[in-house]
Amino acid sequence: MSVRVPEPSGPSSSGPDRYGREVRRCLADLPPAVSEELLDGLDEHLAEVAADSGRPLEAVLGTPAAYAQELRGAAELPEPGRARHPGLGDALREGVERLRRHDAVRAVLAFLPELRPAWWVARAWLALLAVDFLFGSGSFGFPLPSALGLGAVFGLPVVLGAVVLSVQLGRRTQRRTPLQRRERTLAVAGNSVLALLALVAVVAVQQRSGTQPVYADPGGYATPTYGYGSGDQNTLVRGDGTPITNVYPYSSSGEPLSGVLLYDQDGQPLDNLSPVTSDGMRIARVLPTDAAPQPANAYPQRQRLTVYDEQGNESLAPEDPRTVPTASPSASPSPSPSASPSATPRPERPRTGGASPSRSAR
């Protein structure tokens, strides 16, 4: 089937072909997809108009430029001046397209859909973490988001619920393949927001540092009000990434030292211990209230681990005996009454249920 384009009748300087070319030139700024869609069939149309009128097309339709302008207006396409950005976008899109055709990139792209379920889970968790950080106490529960301070028992179902929701959303989006444009925009926007929240969460996790001290009073232990400031320091880690949570100085004769102040090469106090152990356990610094407050860079630091009872209540584990001043260097695992006159840390009661000293002190 051939397309027979009738020759323009009369001595016309601008036949349908030429007229169509001129119109195309005036619309050259449009993205190829748009102009192709717009101009497909234009030549046939012009040929018919020319054949029907028997006059030069310019006499019937005006100049090609005016025709292009009118076409643009009727199809509600951007004016040439404003269409410079699509030109830049085209170049970018072409570059991306070329990259996509590369074998390695193609292999990765083909693999990406397999990661989708993982992303569904991750986005739920990361979004909760970010929401927790932004709108909660400004602190992180790790690895579980503290779910706005609800603790592990409530935090876990919240996380599970979010994951289920996210997966359901993902599956539904996938099943109904031809998404409405509005739905797709919404989905893309939602995912972008989640990805952004995830980024915030990841950055914030890296930035958190510095525990807030817990003051121990002689009669027991203070309420476990602790959290991690949104400090911008990085915390200490070993070369292999293991967090450094405390420092134990010893003399050359093997005597454990206490209250040793550490400074770095610039005279800055070394006070950025990791507030979280490699197991993800949070650490609270303990400061005796009846003694002169220790500087943040005095080592070893007195610390207590955060633990959870069956109800999900947070409480503090017994102090590491090694961190208690004048504890014996043999570091007997049983908490020994300290001879220190200042701190007088009491022997720890075994931890059972919600009857933690920290709770009763509240």
Binding site: M1, H45, E70, R72, G73, A74
Partner: protein, 110 residues
């Protein structure tokens, strides 16, 4: 009164109306509009309008090979196009009635 300005507002409605029940290709739509009395309607305007309505899903299209001339791209109303036509119809009639009433209400009107 400049009818080209008025046309801009009602061209969608006019194009939908001449395609209602009778599919047509671009030039044919133009001829129908002119035959109906819309002499000032521009070729490119109709052409662009058809493309826009098609892009918005109000029209579907199919190509019919022609023996004596070029291929012709026929347009027909989709359900959404028919819906748009009905709504535009009501809007236009309401608007026209309002303006007519406004003109009739002039004290010096005949």
């Amino acid at each position: 009164m400049d009818t080209t300005q008025l046309l801009k507002g009602v061209l969608d409605l006019a194009v939908l109306a001449v395609l209602d029940g009778r599919d047509g290709y671009g030039y044919e739509v133009l001829r129908r509009l002119r035959a109906a009395g819309l002499d000032d309607v521009g070729d490119a305007s109709v052409y662009g309008t058809l493309r826009r309505l098609y892009g918005a899903g109000h029209l579907s299209s199919y190509v019919v090979p022609s023996e004596e001339g070029p291929h012709r791209k026929y347009y027909s109303l989709t359900p959404s196009g028919r819906d748009l036509l009905e709504r535009s119809d009501k809007t236009w009639r309401g608007f026209a009635d309002t303006v007519a009433a406004l003109l009739d209400a002039r004290p010096l009107a005949a």
